[in-house]
């Protein structure tokens, strides 16, 4: 392999500007979460008052709980059945395979608002009561394709010789799956699950149409806070959110690095 030409100076300067554009908004967001002044953009003093307010806000705790219930349940279900779908599509031929593949792409290529109103109409016309269960159903539906596509990409790059060796040595299909196949595709399954979890945490649009009274999730709560008078409490909440995501990402990167 030959050495690549290094990027020129102009391009380096551009990259610095681009990263500034990506991070400057977040920097100010976090900075103002420590500001004593409620509205001003001048730092008048440093305080942890807004974080205190946040911890004493019952509504925030309730939405956090709802969000975690939804994200955990939908991640587990979509990871299990999405992985099965990936194995099926990669390893087997059956009638209706083309149809299944096409259906899997639908949530990726239709705008979220259309999926949201379709589910609202469906739940309304079939007598479902809107609440946590309907949110979970919706989140599973939009997460499955992302899990299936991620796991399938991992399966595509896999050497089947190890599995064949296990079978030759007398392991049956079930044992081979649990002892050989699953451990080998585990990094793909885990990154699919991480994707499903963060998509669920992030989702505002589809949740808006499938939520009912008492099932407010954190994004719904943040939106209503942004619509009313905004205080640095939102900054405090956002900063904590970014911190948690950062910890999860770094941890999963470390884990992934150790696996491969």
């Amino acid at each position: 392999m030959s050495e690549r030409a290094r990027p020129g100076r102009g391009l380096t300067v551009y990259a610095i500007i681009a990263y500034t554009y990506l991070y400057l908004p977040i920097f100010f967001l976090i900075l103002f979460s420590f500001n004593t002044s409620k509205f001003s953009v001048k730092m008048e003093g440093v305080t942890l008052k807004w974080y205190g307010d946040l911890f004493n806000d019952k509504a925030i705790w309730e939405s956090t709980r709802n969000t975690l219930i939804v994200a955990t349940t939908s991640t587990i279900v979509s990871t299990v059945i999405g992985t099965a779908a990936a194995i099926s599509l990669q390893r087997y031929n059956f009638r209706g395979k083309g149809f299944s593949e096409a259906t899997l792409y639908i949530p990726v290529i239709i705008p979220e608002v259309v999926m949201g109103i379709a589910l609202l109409a469906f739940f309304g016309q079939t007598g479902f009561t809107l609440g946590l269960p309907t949110i979970i159903i919706a989140h599973i539906a939009f997460s499955i394709p992302f899990v299936a596509l991620t796991v399938r990409a991992r399966l595509q790059g896999m050497d089947r010789a190890v599995e064949e060796a296990a079978m030759d040595l007398g392991a049956n299909e079930v044992v081979t799956f649990w002892r050989i196949t699953l451990p080998l595709i585990m990094p793909g399954v885990l990154s699919g699950a991480l994707l499903a979890f963060t998509l669920s945490l992030d989702d505002y649009i589809i949740t808006l149409f499938t939520a009912g009274p008492g099932s407010t999730t954190l994004p719904l709560r943040v939106f209503s806070m942004l619509k009313q008078a905004v205080t640095p409490k939102v900054n405090a909440l956002s900063s904590l959110w970014i911190l948690v995501i950062l910890i999860v990402l770094v941890a999963s990167q470390r884990l992934g690095a150790r696996k491969t």
């Binding site: 990259a15 999405g82 290529i109 705008p111 259309v114 469906f122 942004l226």
Partner: protein
């Protein structure tokens, strides 16, 4: 014997895919078909749906007021895609050309803002673009708040279409970078060396070698940005104030406040056909990029 094995394998495949297909048919395909049916219906007096067959809802969409909403949505989505591409290409190119060890760190840094909540990203821009916000304070301190500076600020301050565009580009930037980087990183440097050996200047080598080979990334990135940008209603809501109404806002309002489901359903159908149409033209022309897979 062989036939029996093939049938058994086919059955295993079906069993493995059936939970997913059950879920997607019941909670995705059936609801979408319902929307198609409702779009031909009529609104009852109590905001209920009367199942009839008429095209009134579609006809209404092409009234002057609503047609301009559709046009604005396409325009903003296209502008978002173009700006993401123009800003994203040099950055992806830069990342693909740095040392492999730094590459993954730089990609990680692009993705961190994307993994945080998208409402948080919108709010961050509200702080900057507010009338009394960060940008105003910085420009005032630098003495730029007069003449052209003042004019520029008025074009992009909160509750203007300019602010919507800035925030949308920020929102969808990583969707463009990811596939672009993937296709640029795969590019074999030997090809560029060959071009150089044959006497091509760097700029010409870029236009004739790098750019054509990164077309799949450009296509995938454009689709990944264009589709969500077309349906977006949260950014116009929070950043555009009441001035920017896009087709996403129209659909949301018909379903949640005006309770005219048939009209909202018709608008959804048009939105879906527009996005699918653009996506199909793109993929038919250039082939379905594997870069679409996350």
């Amino acid at each position: 014997m062989l036939k029996a094995i093939r049938e058994r394998l086919s059955l295993q495949g079906l069993i493995l895919i059936s939970p997913t297909m059950f879920w997607l048919i019941v909670f995705l395909l059936v609801p979408l078909v319902l929307i198609v049916v409702i779009s031909f219906g009529a609104r009852g007096i109590y905001g209920n749906v009367e199942y009839t067959f008429n095209l009134d809802n579609y006809a209404r969409l092409f009234d002057k007021g609503y047609a301009s909403i559709l046009w604005d949505s396409i325009w903003i989505a296209l502008m978002t895609t173009v700006f993401c591409l123009l800003a994203g290409y040099p950055l992806s190119y830069y990342i693909a050309r740095t040392h492999p060890v730094r590459r993954s760190l730089l990609m990680f840094l692009v993705l961190v803002p994307f993994w945080t909540n998208f409402l948080i990203r919108i709010y961050a821009w509200m702080i900057i673009l507010r009338g009394e916000g960060v940008l105003n304070a910085v420009m005032t301190a630098l003495g730029l708040m007069q003449g052209p500076g003042q004019w520029l600020f008025e074009q992009i301050q909160l509750y203007t279409p300019g602010a919507v565009l800035i925030s949308m580009v920020y929102e969808f930037f990583p969707f463009m970078i990811l596939p672009l980087y993937t296709s640029l990183e795969k590019l074999d440097p030997a090809l560029l060396e060959a071009a150089a050996d044959l006497g091509a200047r760097p700029w010409r080598a870029f236009l004739r070698v790098t750019l054509p080979l990164s077309v799949p990334g450009i296509i995938a990135g454009s689709i990944l940005v264009f589709i969500p940008a077309m349906g977006m209603f949260v950014v116009p809501d929070l950043i555009g104030g009441a001035k920017t109404v896009l087709v996403g806002n129209l659909i949301r309002n018909q379903f949640l406040t005006a309770r005219d489901w048939p009209f909202g359903a018709a608008a959804s159908m048009v939105l879906m056909l527009l996005t699918l149409g653009v996506t199909l033209i793109y993929t038919r022309t250039f082939g379905f990029g594997e870069e679409l897979v996350p």
